[in-house]
Each structure stands twice: as structure tokens, then as C-alpha cells.
Subunit: 134 residues, 2 copies
DNA sequence: CAGTATCCGACAGGATACTG
DNA sequence: CAGTATCCTGTCGGATACTG
């Protein structure tokens, strides 16, 4: 199953690698959120803007362009009045969505564990340094 | 399978969500690379520094601290001369590694498709704008 | 509605020097 | 070796205003 990554990691691991590329793309602030949302189905610009909470118009445009250029998102323009543009996942995008969803699920399942670990870590580091209070 | 994310997306999708949190953590430049590398087994600071190509000493420290505080990485100090510190994945880290590896594999499998899409996109956008040459 | 163009602040992260 | 402390730059991304 993991033979692909495994062998790659075993050899040189880094330098020029597809994982770095992938992260440089969808590792940004919004890509994953947009892909997840589009996983529900085709959606228009405005709708996405409202759905993906906190994203600015500019960043939605930028993100969609990037995803489109990577072949993950399909953009279809309808010459209506007022103009309308629909975005949807390409088959490639769907194939990625699977893994992203898995990651999202992991995040939800282990949310508590992470918070617990953070609390433990804070407690541990709080007493370690010779407390220099302000 | 996806019912977790799905129902969440269906409701409000965004706002405060575990996926945002996860991305804010491991969505940075190095976390995923380090986790992938540690997936091979315990490794010491220097070794990691050499293995994860391109990372600076500072960023390795910062990244490891973050991963440790999230409970994904375990840090063990050996009081030797010279000092030695070993890093390894916690069970939680391993559970995440599974999905990250899947993503890494996806990246490798679809590397060509993405590049193809990018070429097509460049070609398409190259003629659209009223070429303003430098 | 669906963008594009600017401006700008915040912060991620690289380089370097120093410590136990 | 395994860090910490500083400094400094690039760029990510938010706010705002304008266009077809």
C-alpha cells in the first residue's frame, strides 16, 4: 500500500518531490476548504463565498484559479445576465477529495486527543523554564 | 465512511472547525515532511536535519516542538556526551501518518496529470489576455 | 454576479551567531 | 550535538475600490 512513498522516503526522501509540490499547492489557507465544499457538488462563486466562512473575495478567486490550473476544479461560464460561473470538482479533484475527507475525518475524530496533548504540553513547559515573569 | 465530514459540511461547513485547525498546524511548510520521515522510525535531530532536505535548524526545532505539543511526536532526551535527542511518532502520529502517506501516494500517482493540466491551463490563459509583454 | 487591481500589514521562515 | 536568540525579508492574504 505504502510502497510508493516508502521507497521514495527510503532513498532520498526530499529534494524535488511531489509531496512538496502538493503541499505548496493545497497546503495554503483555503484550498482544502474549497475542495471539501465542492465535494458536495457544483457551486457558484457567490455561493462558495458565503459557504466558505471567512474567505475573502480575492482569496476565493485566487484559490479557484490555482485549483483550476492544477486540474482539480472545473470552471464553467454561463453567458447570462447577470453572469454566472459554476465550479465543480474534476475527476482528478474527486480522487483527491477522498483523501482530504479522510484527513478531515481524522481531524474530527482526534480533536480531543490533540487538545489533551496540548494541555499536557503546556503544563509541562510551564514549569521547565526559570519563570521569567514580565 | 464520510458521514462525519459530510454532515458537518452539510450544516455550516466552516466557522470553527477541526479541519481548519489541522491545516493551521500541519499545513505549514515542514510538518508533513517531518512526519513522513519519522514514519520510517525514530530519528535524532541531526539526522532529521540532513534527511529533510532544505529545512533550517530553526524550522526543524519549531516544527518538532509544534508536533510534540500536538501529541504527534515523542521527544526523548538521552543525557550523554554530547547530548542526544530522539524523535519518534506517537500512536496518534502514526494514525495521522496513514492518511498523510495516502496523500503522498496520491501526489506521486497523479503528478503527471497535474502537470498536464497546468500546461493546458497556461496555454489557455496565454492567449486570453491582451498580451502585455515586458 | 463575478471578477480584477492596489495597497498594505502580519507573520512564516531563512541566515547567522551564540550556549550548555 | 541540540538547541536558543536575533534579525530581516518575502509573500500570504485581508480590506477596499473599481469593471463588464
Amino acid at each position: 500500500m505504502n510502497d510508493g512513498v516508502d521507497s521514495w522516503i527510503a532513498n532520498e526522501f526530499s529534494g524535488v518531490c511531489p509531496v512538496r509540490d502538493l503541499l505548496d499547492r493545497i497546503g495554503d489557507k483555503w484550498s482544502v476548504m474549497v475542495v471539501l465544499r465542492l465535494g458536495r457538488g457544483t457551486e457558484r462563486f457567490r455561493a462558495l463565498l458565503r459557504a466558505v466562512d471567512g474567505i475573502s473575495q480575492r482569496m476565493l478567486t485566487v484559490t479557484l484559479r490555482a485549483l483550476e490550473s492544477d486540474g482539480l476544479v472545473h470552471r464553467e461560464v454561463f453567458d447570462t445576465r447577470p453572469p454566472s460561473v459554476a465550479y465543480s470538482l474534476t475527476p482528478l479533484g474527486v480522487s483527491l477529495l477522498v483523501h482530504i475527507s479522510a484527513l478531515a475525518n481524522w481531524a474530527m475524530e482526534h480533536e480531543a486527543e490533540v487538545k489533551e496533548a496540548q494541555a499536557a504540553f503546556s503544563a509541562k513547559t510551564a514549569k521547565a523554564p526559570s519563570e521569567h515573569r514580565n
